[in-house]
Symmetry: C2
């Protein structure tokens, strides 16, 4: 653990499953987590991921949930019969079947996520909307919408999130100016790519976005940096950072929230998991003018799962952030805990950047 | 097989390994294949893929080849010792080792490819340059450059190809106006994405490109369509076509050469493999105004490996095209055969489009 003082809020988790109403009578809310965050007017707005599963669920006939068109389907599977045909029910998140190519492929997910707004005037006490702000729609989202990020660019809030379907996991781009209506900009990155963080302003004429493609044949999922003249069309991808050979960031890495501009460079917080799927947050500083250059990086995580609400849950030992808000010198990190609920941790931007600059010396 | 008459040239293969000089004294040419093709001045220009491997190769100490920076390295491996540590030498194309995540990952390739120009005045007899036109360079190409495509857009030839490295397989974009100097435009699509075909003109204000992302977690490699205002930055990706459940296109699909504009729509020829890796070419017609719509598709391949030069080679039973040239009504398809040499097949655009229109009725 790094020496950066981090204050986890005493009221954590600040948003709980019990604060969220199901979006449909046949569903129950399993998890509310991984929120995007932004300041909007005099409020903090979170765009939270709500994962729901069928309310009635018989272990012998477990229910799965998906969309056909925009129609929600809840289907009970005959587990003994399907297991006899080689289907695999061992993962709590998906049901897999032997595919035509010989290996197990996901056939169904056990829950489906949508994105919902939560608003607060103090950044701690949130009112969660009863209706989805972004509900899954169309062929790329039949298994749901997950893990959004928000970046304010000019007067427009750019929102990206993971669209999940049998086609793969891709990144969809939408935007809003009022958190009421949404303009859609299509699939930003084809499968498999997620954990996208758009920079808040151009650098020498180009916008930038960190993204995390996951290749099939060679290579590991890694963080890349794309550029764009217009926020919709992206190119000139550059490798930024992969997993380490061992330790806390040897399993997975990907953006947390969008990089934050500071006088010393772009503060980029990312998530990292070890091979046991213990997720932490790390921090690096990208060069102000050439954001594809890592100016400094902390060797140790800045946030780790230590509290019971972080170490026990639907998917234990996870702190996973998609959103943060800066007020003065304080970075307010909103983060999913154990893939179950939402917590808040504060730290000093000045102290964090100073620690990064000390590393770069 | 479809009923489209196809004439495979009697002189096939029209470019052979013996026509190509090695690019370095320590290498031998194994294969010359998968050419991009275009008309340039009064010539047909092919950009051929040349795969080379170390000239001296002891089966007990097989040599691998890669770049460090722009420096070619040939390294002999101690096969018995590495096999005792779990390394796998069974694939003729790569050497794999147990990775930190538990499964075998490619550590080395046994050959490295670069791209070389070949020119012809009659489209049949080609003179192959002695020097690479595009040699691998930089961190994304330490394992080579493969499978180029050329599209003439205005007066500029846009060239894309697969960059291969331990980072994954991504698509690099360059361009030329004279086939002498090359302008680089960076990585067009992050890993894993290849088999990219750029359309030759805008459709209602946007350029388009077919591409073939290959996701890690969910989904199969599939053909998608991206749009661009400027040929360099791409977005609004749409799923176009995946593999079938069975038959000749159930293993792999991807673009052959860039789509060709006809009065009836964009003629799009693609490659498809079955689970035994037998590669054929198929054809579809994309809507003129909305190229993300498949207007018609032939149920059977238009080109299959039948001749000895197609059925036997480094990787047998493969016809794989990255380039074609149209003269009058004739589509001249240049294609790699058995991943070894280059052949030519001609067919009538009018007959092919008529067959496609018959399917769409």
């Amino acid at each position: 653990m790094s020496s950066i003082p981090v204050v986890k809020h005493h009221a954590n988790p600040i948003i709980r499953v019990s604060d969220v109403r199901p979006s449909a009578p046949e569903l129950k809310v399993d998890c509310v987590f991984n929120p995007a965050a932004t300041a909007y007017r005099d409020q903090v707005v979170l765009l939270v991921r709500v994962a729901e599963s069928p309310r009635d669920n018989d272990p012998l006939r477990p229910s799965v949930v998906y969309l056909v068109g925009d129609e929600l389907v809840v289907e009970a599977l005959d587990r003994p019969e399907l297991e006899a045909r080689g289907w695999d029910f061992s993962d709590s998140r998906s049901v897999r079947a032997p595919g035509p190519k010989g290996y197990l492929v996901a056939k169904y997910l056990t829950s489906i996520s949508h994105l919902r707004l939560a608003r607060s005037t103090d950044g701690v006490h949130f009112e969660v909307d009863d209706e989805p702000f972004i509900a899954p729609t169309g062929e790329y989202e039949s298994w749901g919408c997950e893990d959004p990020r928000i970046t304010l660019v000019g007067d427009r809030y750019m929102i990206n999130y993971s669209s999940v379907s049998p086609r793969g996991i891709c990144t969809t781009l939408v935007s809003t100016t009022d958190f009421e209506s949404v303009e859609r900009h299509g699939v930003m990155f084809a499968p498999e790519n997620r954990n996208v963080g758009i920079f808040s302003e151009k650098v020498h004429g180009m916008y930038y976005a960190v993204n995390r493609p996951a290749p099939q044949m060679f290579g590991e999922p890694a963080i890349w940096l794309a550029e764009s003249p217009n926020l919709v069309h992206w190119g000139n991808q550059r490798f930024l950072m992969g997993t380490s050979d061992s330790g806390w960031e040897s399993g997975r890495v990907g953006a947390a929230f969008p990089p934050i501009r500071t006088a010393e460079g772009w503060l980029f917080v990312y998530h990292a998991a070890d091979p046991d799927n213990r997720y932490c947050l790390g921090a690096m500083l990208l060069d102000s003018d050439r954001p594809w250059l890592i100016k400094a990086k902390l060797a140790e995580p800045i946030l780790e799962p230590t509290e019971p609400y972080e170490t026990d849950g639907f998917f234990s030992n996870v702190v996973f952030s998609c959103g943060a808000v800066v007020t003065g010198d304080t970075l307010h990190i909103y983060y999913g805990v154990a893939d179950t609920e939402i917590a808040l941790a504060d730290l000093s931007v000045g102290v964090l950047v100073a620690a990064l600059l000390a590393e770069s010396r």
